[in-house]
Amino acid sequence: MGQKIVTLPLTDKKVQYLKAGDRVLLSGDVYAARDAAHKRLAELIENNEELPINLKGEAIYYVGPTPAKPGQIIGSAGPTTSGRMDKYTPKMLSMGLKGMIGKGYRNEAVKEAIQNYQAVYFAAIGGSGALLSKKIQFETVVAYEDLGPEAIRRLTIKDFPVTVINDCYGNDLYQQGAEAYQGRHPQ
């Protein structure tokens, strides 16, 4: 099984090249945002106010890193559970968001929106925050600094390892993977 190399930002063509189960090395810029930041963005969207970030063509990494030690770019930085963001995601995809990196199940509305708006959902390995922090080359807080670990950050990632879970064709690796290995425990 090979690895695909993808540079950000994502486009329709790049998204169409990605299939559930693909292992991908991602490089480029992403926004880091999680629960509290999503709540604030959703309130702005609801009130037709301008967002502090432009979502078009962007990817969001659901992460709340540990504080960086002196001399470090970022602390431990693995993915958090994506399902908590499901409530906000379809609207953000409709505004041009193309990719998400997290871990765990997405709901049906998100999976449908991923197909409708030609986007992709990647999983990084939950709990591998030390390893993943080595793949982050630059970090700056761009909004909501008061939220601490939940502030919105701009991250530059390099060869960041992810796996495609939900592709734009409606495939779902969590479902397909579990079905493929059911009843095949080690003897």
């Binding site: 099984m1 189960g21 292992r23 509290a36 992460v63 709340g64 890193p65 540990t66 504080p67 960086a68 030690k69 470090q72 602390g75 431990s76 930085a77 693995g78 958090t80 559970t81 399902g83 871990k103 765990g104 199940y105 999983a123 390995i125 939950g126 709990g127 591998s128 925050g129 030390a130 390893l131 922090s133 080595k134 601490g148 670990p149 390892p161 796996t163 879970i165 690796l173 969590y174 397909q176 993977g177 579990a178 079905e179 493929a180 290995y181 059911q182 009843g183 095949r184 425990h185 080690p186």
Partner: protein, 280 residues
Amino acid sequence: MREIHVDDITENVAFLCQAASFDLGDDMIRAFQSSLKTEKSEIGKDVIEQLLDNAEIAKQEHIPMCQDTGVAVFFIELGYDCNIVGGSLYDAINQGVSKGYGDGYLRQSIVRDPLDRKNTGDNTPAITYVEMVAGDHLTIKFTAKGGGAENMSRLQMLKPSDGLEGIEHFVLESVRLAGPNACPPMIVGVGIGGSFEKSAYIAKKSLLRPVGERNEEDRVAELEEKWIEQCNDLGIGPQGMGGSTTALDVKIEVYPCHIAALPVAVNIQCHANRHKEVTL
């Protein structure tokens, strides 16, 4: 009566918080290595190899293995012949957490009010349970419990007529629902009996037992082994991407209960199974 000063407790708690976050236990490392030999999925193997790399980086460079450095949970065993001097045990523990999480650059994940959700800024308050035991020692058992796995934990008040079959169904259903959200391969803590809160307490406490160590009672140990196999039969696999390693272990604790009751709690623990202890 032996005396232990609260400052000694604070220092040790601060150390435990950092050590747990950077240094994954040998039992977990051995379990990862052993699962590499049996895992059938290529993606699954790749995940486990990355988890081993991650643990090594965390240990060598003192980077938390997971960015969710958790809620600080303490199981304290306090000897009847031990006297704590210089202040309160609970305050000493909270001061240790504040120091450990601050000095170690660990993430502050606790909000003061569950509704307005303002961060307390030092990961306190800790959740502390104290049990009185024989002797003149104080044992501090610490676990850093992450939100992802904790959120997938469940409790049900079953009927006595549901029996073992009902319990088994509930446990496996909980693991299936937890799936990738709980960062598998997971450790499944099961508390059977007691009361509503006691079942949850023993389920969580069971997670402190080293991976691979079976319950002392044979009939419970047999159930643990059976349920490990059944969890792995679910096919969820490492990180839920499909595979034969869903649970590295199942831990069961039982406790007497009311004639009308059959409480069952399932406390899911992710592969970042962080716990350390010290005896003063």
